[in-house]
Amino acid sequence: MRRHKRWPLRPLASVLVRPHLFSSAAETVGASTSTVAAFPLKHVKRSDFETTLTELRSHVKAADFVAIDLEMTGVTSAPWRDSLEFDRYDVRYLKVKDSAEKFAVVQFGVCPFRWDSHTQTFLSHPHNFFVYPRQELAFDPPAHEFLCQTTSMDFLAKYQFDFNACIHEGISYLSRRQEEEASKRLEMLYDEEGVAETEDVKLVRLADTLFAERMKKTLSEWRSQLLHGGNASSSESQKMSTQSTQTVFHHMRPALRLQGFTSHQLRVIQLVLGKHFGDLVYIHANDDKSSCSQDFVVYTDSESDKDNLLVSILQKEAKDERKRVAERKIQSAVGFRQVIDLLSSEKKLIVGHNCFLDIAHVYSKFVGPLPWTAEEFVASINNHFPYIVDTKILLNVNPMLHQRMKKSSTSLSSAFSSLCPQIESSSRSSDPFLEKRVKIDVEVDNVRYSNWNAGGKHEAGYDAFMTGCIFAQACSHLGFDFKHDSQSENLAQNEKLEKYMNRLYLSWTRGDIIDLGTGNSNAENWRVSKFKYENIVLIWNFPRKLKAREIKECICKAFGSTSVTCVYHIDDTAVFVLFKNSELVSDFLTLKQQLESDDGPVTILHPLSKILQGGNTGAADYEAYKEICSSHISKILFSDQAETVGVKSRTRPEPKGETSSETERRENRVGVTNNASDLIDAFLANRVQVEAARTN
């Protein structure tokens, strides 16, 4: 891992102008201008977003595929939210959902790749967008919050992530859903107004009555002054006009601009106008530039003029004007989502590396709230991104590529160095296998580079570039001939990629693969499950010092030495116990309940008492685990989480009385009791009682 971050080499001049920013690059440049430079990367912030977007549009349109990568403020909101051995696919999805909902995206790398048949190279345009969920709309929903995981922040800091650039100058965004809501709210705002405004104002307070009188006087003075011209009548009105009113022209009619009044006072003024002045019209208009609203009293010289003003032209105009301004505001608040919309509308092949979490982030930040189940998510994401390829899948699933990786890790950077050494070290001329290597050039700000130093790892733009390079190289190994059948061919439709298309790792550690392509995918078929989840019991809040082995011993003492397959720690405060069969699960939960309701000597001597010690031990079946994971609360310790979510007293419902399994269980039970030689009499008695209760 490189310690120094390589800043992008924009045109050489900028490097020389700002040497302090480009220390590593500057050294190289200083030595000789012909040597390789740092990796060129386009950093995009709020100020240059709009111009970059126009360029990006044409790049994406022309691209064969677009590689993406995201940097987030964290991954897991609690240690137990990490991918665990016993996570069923639906639980795993809930964990990914939680992560995407809680953490913020701070950098978004987008790198379109296009095959250039003239030079026989891929031309890439790496973009590094700084993204920050700034609230740009005043009428936005309640304060937006995001979580930061301290280790992730430390990790970003280690790679010199520029937090200032992100927070000060990051590009904001609205998801589609948020945009819809904002527009809806906007509509409501404008529909309501103008109709009922004056109705519910009553001059109850003395201050209001006095104010209304004063305004009436001022307005009639202004009006008569307007009509009869010339000298101002009273000093008072002059004083008033300098203070908060000012005569101007509004839509070619004389008008009085009202300033410095509260909204309540303005309403009183409207009331006064309605009551006493037929020819004065109240107008509320938005200023385009300053974006602040202005209020006028406009004089109309006839009833028809008033109608004109009110109905046809002004009121509507002013309203439309305001609406336009607000719509423009919403449009600009959409911000970075325009990039996502672009990728979506162009239906380009999206390439990511181990990117399920990335895609979930994209969905939750730019489309709308993540659905509750993986099935709904799959159905929905396909509408937005029909073609996604995960290079991690490609490298692990394809035997030939897997072999080519020479068993090295398939992490992004090591995959990059084993598949694309020529790019990393830029030693293309000396590479004897040049023919097999796909050549890749980088173009930033219309300057084309074919030599640079690798660098900027964990900079989203560079990571996206690496991902794209891996994909291009992998395609070449798969037998794509870019030279002959490029351009006309759509990569996404190619049968060589079909096996990998839209298949993503739901959990890399467990090897769970999710298929985003098939809308009606059957979740159970995604992967043959190693465990029977109905055989699992969740236990938490047992005495902290107990280890997995001791817990297993305790349970085996009570249910027989072969009853427990294994015990697995979720964290210090909770374990999964995998029983041999699901009957033992309900037996365990019933027995636990029984022991807790009874505080005689039996309870103390019982082998399970070691686990139940302290009286707070909770236990539940696997469905409760799912429920706990679906909660938006994230306590650090699993036991706290379970208590907060409130599944404390939950036990598995009694299994339906199937006679066959009933007898089977009985046999099993006899075996259990025989094996457990050290069961005390009291416990056995208790057990019989349980049994009796069951058969009744």
Partner: protein, 607 residues
């Protein structure tokens, strides 16, 4: 009321000069210069009479109703502050020890950049923290440098975390031979186990004695073979034997057994990364002196390690042990944060919090309370404004920055951080001067006592009326957007109970509170809403309930806070509270009083 004779004329003549918000040079402390600054801070604290502090957090409240408002009792205020303190992070801790001699204020301003670094990879000091996006944007606008904060911020551990980390840091701990738990009757297995270990230790010890007596007699091969057979290792320069254990019980048995060899064997506990003791390490001592030396070494190592993990908390401990009165602008939010980050988890009850806090910081001055005594109409949240509101008093304060010398050049952007603490000390000095203008002497300790708040959290507002919390009813569920006036209108027509005077305010977008001025009305109303019969046949209240109107008393609000239903909308939280079946009794069931103000509640018409 001695201040009456102070004329406003003299204030404008003399007081204004020092009131201009000036920029003072504040010492910025980061990871790199923290150690070297510690001694300075100690001296500064020792030489000062008071300590002003001000925190920069990553957020304050997630939804409108999470804010402490006029309708909150001390308990609900505390719960709200607790919720915020547990989620948000302190990025900057500005500290300003100061003393006041006459009109001369001597300040020693420091500003610490903090960042929780999970150095032990154990989720401490914090696994994650929340950021309010808008708060960070506002900080950015003020020129906050997030890179400095995250790259160079000082980490810390709370007192509770430090004691927990002892076992988790992986450093060997001196085993305490005095067993805290009376050992349970030993079983046969125990005896066998102990016997086996005893003979192993005996052999090893013998070999240690042998090798120490015949110095260098053995050739290398033999000694290494012996090591291999006996499992002997080196611990520093000393020989040791590591005995793996499977449970705490075994560790305990071994430590007990090793007391037999206490002359020359010292037991150490080796903690596993996550759970309890992994092994017991017996270290061989060549002499009594060697043993003392070894124990001292261990202790030093521990102190050093503790200091390292403690980080910034060292400063908090300095403040705490100095027992100097602390001056804070926002007592509740500042001290819940400090308690949560540097002392330990926040208790669930405000009284427990107060007592826990006062054991660490016995004297705390809530500046806003103090301000209200002098100038009841000022708003403390804006320091410069609060300062200028005191213009009408003649109370000159000359500020001298003791630890830096001169005011800083304005272009040094980062120096501006931590100004608030200086302003707080200035404001405090001013208030003190006003309060004691007739006896312009140095603060005596007795006078101080009067200023130090008794840690009461009181909600205060202008034009307030004291009402019992029993008279408040929360209403929500009416679909369409209504202004408070419209809602009041609608309610007025709906039921007889609204014939008398009452007040309605929105607490957030979703929920309004109705204040009855007469006791008993709230019960009548709640009864009517929740009872089919009392609701009667017709009437618009029935209509409103049919439309979705819901109502709950103050008890539900308190429970929502206690149970931690911090939904974005208050209506959502109250619904959840009503749904939650667990009806554990609230100990604090007596109605509390709040100050109702018509001004303080959030007016959503103007949002």
């Amino acid at each position: 009321m001695q201040r009456r004779f102070l004329s406003s004329v003299s204030a404008s003549a003399g007081g204004t000069k020092t009131l201009n918000p000036r920029r003072w040079s504040v010492k910025q402390v980061k990871k790199t210069n923290f150690k070297s600054t510690l001694d300075d801070i100690r001296t500064s604290i020792d030489s000062s009479d008071f300590i002003a502090l001000s925190l920069q957090n990553t957020g304050s409240y997630a939804a409108a109703w999470h804010r402490v408002s006029a309708i909150d009792t001390p308990q609900t205020s505390y719960l709200k502050a607790k919720y915020a303190a547990e989620r948000y992070q302190i990025f900057q801790f500005a500290l300003c020890p100061f003393s006041l001699r006459g009109s001369k204020l001597t300040v020693h301003p420091y500003n610490f950049h903090l960042f929780p670094r999970d150095e032990l990879k154990l989720g401490m000091p914090s696994y994650s923290f929340s950021c309010q996006a808008s708060r960070l944007t506002a900080m950015a606008r003020e020129g906050f440098d997030f890179n400095t904060c995250i790259y160079e911020g000082i980490s810390y551990l709370s007192r509770t975390q430090e004691s927990a980390s002892k076992f988790l840091s992986g450093n060997p701990i001196l085993a305490d031979p005095i067993v805290d738990v009376p050992s349970s009757p030993s079983t046969v297995a125990d005896t066998v186990f102990v016997g086996r270990i005893r003979s192993r230790v005996k052999n090893w010890r013998q070999s240690c004695l042998d090798s120490s007596s015949k110095t260098g007699g053995d050739d290398d091969l033999v000694s290494s073979l012996r090591k291999l057979v006996l499992g002997s290792e080196q611990y520093g320069s000393r020989l040791c034997l590591t005995i793996d254990v499977c449970s705490e019980r075994q560790a305990q048995l071994i430590v007990e057994m090793l007391t037999e060899f206490s002359d020359d064997v010292v037991p150490l506990l080796v903690a596993s990364k996550s759970r309890g003791t992994q092994a017991v390490r017996a270290v061989f001592m060549s002499s009594k002196e060697d043993k003392d030396l070894f124990k001292r070494e261990l202790r030093d190592l521990e102190t050093e390690e503790n200091r390292r993990v403690r980080g910034f908390r060292e400063v908090v401990d300095l403040i705490s042990s100095s027992q100097k009165p602390l001056v804070s602008q926002n007592y509740l939010s500042d001290f819940t944060s400090i308690h949560a980050k540097f002392l330990g988890p926040l208790p669930s009850d405000v009284d427990e919090f107060s007592s826990s806090l006062s054991s660490a910081f016995p004297n705390v001055v809530d500046l806003s309370q103090f301000m209200k005594e002098i100038s009841p109409l000022s708003n403390i949240s804006n320091l410069p404004a609060a300062m200028s509101s005191l213009n009408r008093f003649f109370a000159p304060v000359d500020v001298e920055v003791a630890n830096q010398g001169c005011p800083v050049k304005l272009d040094e952007g980062h120096q501006m951080h931590g100004q608030n603490a200086v302003m707080i000390s200035q404001l405090f000095a001013k208030l003190c001067t006003i309060k004691k203008s007739d006896q312009s002497s140095v603060q005596s300790n007795e006078d101080l006592q009067a200023l130090v708040s008794d840690e009461d959290v009181k909600v205060w507002s202008k034009n307030s009326r004291r009402v019992s919390s029993e008279n408040l009813v929360f209403v929500w569920g009416l679909g369409k957007k209504m202004t408070a006036a419209m809602l009041k209108n609608a309610l007025q027509k709906s039921h007889a109970v609204f014939a008398k005077d009452f007040d309605v305010k929105y607490l957030d977008r979703s929920c309004a509170v109705v204040v009855f001025w007469e006791s008993g009305s709230s019960e009548t109303f709640l009864g009517a809403v929740n009872d089919e019969e009392k609701l009667g046949g017709g009437g618009s209240l029935r209509e409103m309930v049919a439309e979705g109107l819901r109502a709950a008393g103050y008890e539900s609000y308190k429970r929502a806070c206690r149970l931690g239903f911090w939904e974005a909308d208050l209506a959502e939280s109250l619904e959840k509270t009503l749904e939650s079946s667990d009806r554990d009794l609230d100990l604090d069931t007596k109605p509390s009083e709040i100050d109702w103000s018509s001004e303080l509640a959030i007016n959503f018409d103007e949002l």
